[in-house]
Amino acid sequence: MSEVTFQYENETHRADTAVAGFWLFLASEMLFFGGLFLVWTVYRQIHNSGFNQASQHANLLIGSINTVILFTSSAVFAAALPAGRRGANRTAFWLCVVTWLLGLAFLLLKLWEWKTDLGEGLFPGPDFSITGPGSAGAPLFWAFYFVATGLHGIHLLVGLGLVAWIALMAYRKQLSASNATSLEVVSLYWAFVDVIWLMLYPMIYLSGHVG
């Protein structure tokens, strides 16, 4: 009776249960961001023109580059799972490294974007720069922007830690067909962070360009 399979019938039973449990956690995370989606939906309904104006001030170029970076990183990390299951630790390691670097690039670009946003007076407050006719609600958009991208950034930061952990496992040649649950769970998490970004991207960067 090994410690890990104490309450399970066997290793597969344990692995499947862990992955299912992680999906439930992701459902919970979905509702966490769901609150933000509700905020956006309600205020866009009330302050349509202000939200459009505000969205036009978002940095579409950086936002778009970041989108490509992030879905590319999910693709790379998704490729690490079959490699890990094959026991191809070396391949898995390098795929993790590429994923990690792409994630880092996203975060650095995001920080730079924040810096330019702040420089343009887009943080709501006395110096907020979007004024004039039809701008009502613009500060709400930018308050939403900073909270949403901030929380997404924190999730990504946690993801970087998890990917580094998997890279370390691969470096130590610990991944194998029977020991890939951690890799699978982290790949779900990383793709989920991507999914959240794919939701946020049109809400933040595209909604103001419509029509």
Binding site: S49, G50, T131, G132, P133, G134, S135, A136
Partner: protein
């Protein structure tokens, strides 16, 4: 139900709903407690009563009491919802009184210019509509004797109305937690016979009606430098819309939309003039946010409202 006076037209109707609910509740309670006592006495473990066979199929009973409960609830829902809809549909001829909530007092202003704190005077048998706003946090205006209650929010006007039908004085409360002295934010509503009310209005007159006070403010804040209002104002170097006849009429905005100029729109235009520019005018009006409190805005609104008939 004589614990609390029924001092408005709505009060007995809401009490009937509560009595209806009470009757149903007592009946269900007697049933539940009765059956519970009956079963625990009759079927106590050392009783030798013949228990017979227990029912195997239970779904008939289950469907039965589910349907009965549901029907009863639907009836209660319709009853409550119809009364509620009336609570929020004021008659057109109501007397309007402005109420401003502030930590921790109620400021009341009458169209005739009378003002009071933590006190409201109304005539008997006449619908009264309260237009309420808050200077800070959410408050709630509640008069139990009238069975009315409504939250008072910052940044918007909320409405509640009633027809008092029994002269007397009744307590009013703030019933939304609003900070340290929440429990001190109380006062009295005085319901008076029409003749007494007229006397009270005359005695409390401050010399000017609310609209006249608004006109004074209109001059003092420099509004009249640009806006034409009444027989004066306007004519300065800056072109601004005339305010005669604005209230209640549609206003075309520079972004192509049209809004009806109501209390909300007037208030907005004073505090945040740049967001709703009247078509073909320049956005040059400064914001008065922070320079003018809600009680004074009420006066300006009353003044502009009084110009509704002028063209």
């Amino acid at each position: 139900m004589s614990l609390l006076p029924q001092a408005s037209r709505m009060a007995p109707r809401i009490d009937w709903l509560i009595i209806g609910l009470l009757i149903i509740s007592v009946a269900v309670l007697l049933l539940v407690f009765g059956l519970m006592l009956l079963y625990i006495v009759r079927y106590r473990h050392n009783s030798n009563i013949d228990r017979g066979k227990i029912a195997e199929k239970t779904w008939r009973l289950e469907i039965g009491w589910t349907a009965a409960t549901l029907l009863c609830f639907l009836g209660l829902f319709v009853w409550g919802a119809r009364l509620y809809a009336q609570l929020y549909r004021p008659p057109g001829n109501a007397l309007i009184v402005y109420v401003v909530g502030k930590q921790w007092m109620w400021k009341v202003e009458y169209p005739g210019g009378q003002r009071e704190i933590n006190s409201l005077h109304v005539p008997v048998n006449r619908p009264v509509e309260l237009l309420m706003t808050s200077e800070d946090v959410i408050h709630d205006f509640s008069v139990p004797a009238f069975r009315i209650k409504h939250d008072v929010l910052p940044g918007r006007y909320e409405m509640v109305w009633f027809t008092a039908d029994r002269p007397g004085t009744y307590r009013l409360y703030c019933t939304q937690l609003c900070g340290v002295d929440h429990s001190a934010m109380t006062g009295w509503v005085t319901v008076m016979a029409p003749a007494d009310y007229a006397r009270w209005l005359a005695a409390s007159r401050t010399g000017q009606t609310l609209a006249q006070q608004g006109q004074v403010l209109f001059m003092r804040f420099g509004c009249s430098g640009c806006h034409h209002a009444g027989l004066s104002g306007g004519g300065g170097t800056v072109r601004a819309p005339s305010l005669n006849g604005v209230f209640g009429s549609p206003v075309p905005l520079s972004d192509g939309s049209v809004v009806v100029a109501d209390e909300r729109y007037i208030r907005d235009s004073i505090l945040q003039p740049k967001t709703q520019i009247v078509a073909s005018y320049e956005p040059v009006m400064p914001s008065f946010k922070g320079q003018i409190d809600e009680a004074d805005i009420v006066k300006l609104v009353a003044f502009i409202k009084s110009l509704a008939g002028d063209r």
